[in-house]
């Protein structure tokens, strides 16, 4: 198994130090981690319905929201992302019966912990989007993008900083 990690290319983020203000054309990067059966399908529906949303999200597909280990969130915030959106099936709809219930517990604790150590709570967001909720996915992405734009670029703990 090759586990080599490429250098981050830092397209939007240069190796800035905290305190330097963002360029005016700054656009946030949002890491979207979506479960395959509901939210990824929902985001596909947003596409097939041609519903427009801000282009800041980068989507990673996982089988279930329960596959999301909290370190995915921390890793994203530490490297490439200004914010994270994780989305799964509505409670009761999990393709894998109960995955999202376990995930929900971890998400709450992770969010509160990251907030506790100094991340704004809006940088870590969660949603339930079903395969039929194309419009909802667009709304969620728009909201999260808007929230994170307000917060500005994330510099703290960025790996580029060392």
């Amino acid at each position: 198994m090759e586990t080599e990690v490429k250098e981050t290319q830092g397209k939007i983020f240069s190796a800035e130090n905290p305190g330097i203000t963002a360029p005016t054309d700054w656009q946030p990067v949002i890491m979207g981690i979506l479960c395959n059966w509901c939210s990824y399908a929902g985001s596909d529906l947003t596409g097939t319905s041609r519903i427009q949303y801000p282009p800041n999200i980068r989507i990673i597909r996982v089988p279930c929201s329960s596959r999301v280990d909290p370190w995915f969130i921390i890793k994203s915030l530490q490297t490439t992302a200004d914010g994270v959106l994780i989305s799964g099936c509505h409670p009761g709809d999990c393709h894998y019966i109960s995955g999202n219930y376990y995930a929900r517990r971890r998400f709450l604790v992770t969010k509160k912990l990251l907030n506790f150590i100094g991340y704004h709570e809006n940088r870590i967001q969660f949603s339930w989007v079903s395969a039929a909720e194309g419009p909802k996915f667009a709304k969620v992405v728009a909201k999260v993008t808007e929230d994170i734009k307000k917060l500005g670029p994330l510099h703290r703990y960025k790996k580029e900083n060392f």
Partner: protein, 657 residues
């Protein structure tokens, strides 16, 4: 060193109309592992796939990234292309630049192009960590379990059994037949329900490939597609079916009378009973809730009159196990209780009955020998008012959906009434007439012409008593007037609802159900007979209200699905499942706790190399694992990895942009 090929699809103008594809291709070339990056108009076409195949061979690619539509759309197509080029199909990654970029950022072409490049970078990075995976084959137990012995279950069981696949048919009540057995004649042909159903019931009982287990329930289902293990509880019938001849002496002599649910409680049955004369199996059971012998230890007349000595008051519930490969759910429907219609006097006026009660009355073998009568005084009614949509399409009191069959059976009832009581007159209050189906519209027309029934479009607002008549006040919306009809009998077409046990059954089987309690299909249009759980199918009204032709069609479709599943000796299974590195496993076994499929078992391994001491670690049963990844995320020692979504793959994706 990884050698990645990137293939970017125009998808006609779908992608190229928004995204600057040549720029994306150039951008991809800058990634150091990318050996070839090309574009093509339609990659999913044959020439498109040919380009991929050639590039794989020529460039000795170690992984392939296709930037095109959603992986949910063409992942299989492109995997096949890899396979044809002699490459492991799981070395493919798809960058979804259509649904996730060109279609959703049509106005911001620059951002859409940038995003497409990022998505490709992520896919390339992930693909570098991809591993070769191989399909898993799992043995199949060729036996189907059909739950419910109504027409849906009967049809499914017969069709599967005719393909020489053993079937276990489990029915809750003492006899198969279900709702259809209660019907008199069926729309739109008016052939007698019993006449077409009973031969099928007999076929079920005599079929060499069908094991009929009446008066029983499924109480547990474990395992996975092809390898389920079901526990079935046979309720104590207190009658030994093997020696009972079904002579009926016991039912005649039994002194206890109980409302007869088969006849909608219009008449009485005994505490030892067969539900109806044509029951299959035609063996009586004792109703433990009412039998005085079982309740108080007195009586025992049935045991005395039984020549065969088949009565056994000491019988207890028995649990049997069956190994099965597939399940068909066919639990049918219930009828909505119209009690909330207080303004109609439901419950106060005896002469307001439900459609199924009317159906039983007009049935030749029914409690009134085929003549409708008023429950209050036993007189034959002349003016009968039928009210449709009782509970259906009623968000305030009932449910939102249309029950689908009421328009048709109400037309049928008008005809049956006309046949049984020629000088009667039917008034039908309706909201709409929904008669879509072969011969249906014609049937409604026939009812209107043949019986001269008065169809009144409008809702009934109130029913009150005047003498021994019921006054039905409603609106005739076509003339915009309030009308009052003097009725001898009022028949309510109550809504079809899901059986109340459906949610519990769904949880037990591990399938999902909707807010009404109907079992959910995997896809409302494209997979209407499958549930989301592999190997579990559904037929008939357990999914939604249906008429008999639709139910039978769906039951046969289920049979085709089951036969397809059992076509080979083994099943191919997706290799994207979890594996445990037992060297890393600390043996806390929390993964067993969170696994929704009981796919994790324990294994004992030596403590160290050559050690005689053992330690217990977790092990994945690869036939059961569905690849959700719940265990992966909770494993603290990172001993579990999920093929296709491993930690290195996801890290690569996260850090790629």
């Amino acid at each position: 060193m990884a050698r990645v090929g990137v293939f970017v699809c125009f998808c006609g103008a779908n992608i190229a109309g928004v995204i600057d594809v040549p720029a994306v291709v150039q951008e991809a070339k800058k990634i150091k592992e990318v050996k070839i990056s090309i574009e093509y108009k339609y990659l999913c076409s044959d020439p498109g796939q040919q380009i991929i195949r050639e590039a794989i061979v020529q460039n000795r690619l170690t992984s392939v990234v296709v930037a095109a539509c959603s992986p949910r759309m063409h992942e299989k197509t492109f995997r096949k292309a890899l396979l044809d080029a002699g490459m492991n199909p799981y070395l493919l990654e798809i960058a979804n630049i259509r649904e996730h970029s060109s279609w959703v950022h049509q106005k911001d072409k620059k951002a859409a192009t940038e995003k497409a490049s990022d998505l490709i970078r992520m896919a390339v990075a992930k693909s570098i960590a991809n591993e070769q995976l191989h399909e898993i084959s799992v043995p199949v137990t060729k036996r189907a379990l059909v739950i419910g012995g109504g027409i849906a279950g009967i049809q499914a069981a017969l069709d599967i059994a005719d393909a020489r696949i053993p079937v276990t048919l489990v029915e809750k009540s003492p006899s198969i037949g279900g709702r259809m057995a209660q019907l008199d004649e069926t729309f739109p042909t008016l052939d007698c329900s019993q006449c077409i159903l009973t031969p099928k019931m007999v076929d079920v009982a005599s079929h060499p490939y069908i094991e009929l287990i009446p008066y029983s329930e499924v109480i547990e289902l474990q395992g996975y597609v092809g390898n389920y293990k079901a526990k079935i509880k046979k309720k104590a019938s207190y009658v030994d079916f093997s020696s009972c001849t079904g002579c009926g002496a016991c039912t005649q002599k039994c002194p206890v009378k109980v409302p007869n649910e088969f006849n909608m409680n219009i008449d009485k049955r005994k505490a030892i009973y067969t539900p109806f004369p044509q029951a299959v199996p035609n063996k009586p059971v004792i109703d433990a809730e009412h039998c005085t012998m079982l309740l108080k230890g007195k009586c025992g007349i049935c045991a005395k009159v039984c020549e065969k000595g088949s009565i056994n008051f000491k019988m207890v519930d028995e649990v049997i196990e069956r190994e099965i490969g597939a399940v068909v759910i066919a639990t049918g429907y219930d009828l909505w209780d119209p009690k909330p219609y207080e303004e109609y006097g439901v419950g106060r006026y005896k002469d307001i009955i439900t459609s199924l009660e009317f159906e039983r009355m007009v049935s030749a073998s029914g409690p009134t020998n085929g003549v409708p009568v008023r429950p209050s005084d036993g007189k034959v009614p002349k003016n009968v008012v039928f009210i449709k949509c009782i509970g259906s399409r009623d968000e305030a009191k009932g449910i939102e959906y249309c029950s689908k069959i009421c328009c048709m059976y109400t037309a049928k009832h008008a005809i049956l009434l006309h046949h049984k009581v020629p000088d009667s007159h039917a008034y039908i209050f309706y909201m709409d007439i929904r008669a879509a189906g072969k011969g249906y519209e014609e049937f409604v027309k026939r009812a209107q012409v043949e019986t001269a029934a008065t169809y009144l479009r409008g809702r009934v607002s109130k029913i009150y008593k005047k003498g021994d008549k019921l006054m039905v006040r409603g609106e005739d919306a076509q003339i915009g007037q309030v009308v009052e009809v003097e009725a001898d009998l009022v028949v309510l077409a109550t809504a079809v609802i899901a059986p109340k046990d459906n949610p519990a059954l769904a949880r037990l089987l591990g399938v999902s159900y909707d807010k009404y309690g109907y079992i959910s299909e995997a896809h409302p249009k494209l997979r209407p007979v499958e549930t989301a759980k592999a190997g579990i199918f559904l037929a008939g009204c357990t999914q939604a209200p249906k008429d008999i032709p639709d139910t039978v069609a769906q039951a046969s479709a289920c049979a085709a699905k089951v036969c397809g599943l059992f076509a080979g000796d083994t099943m191919k299974k997706d290799p994207m499942i979890s594996t445990i590195n037992n060297e890393f496993c600390s043996g806390c076994l929390n993964c067993i706790k969170v696994c929704p499929y009981q796919a994790i078992v324990t294994e004992e391994i030596p403590l160290g190399h050559g050690s005689k001491e053992i330690r217990t670690v977790a092990k994945i049963n690869e036939g059961v694992c569905q690849g959700c990844g719940s265990c992966v995320a909770i494993c603290r020692s990172m001993a579990i990895s999920l093929a296709g979504f491993t930690d290195p793959q996801i890290i690569n994706e996260i850090v790629a942009i």
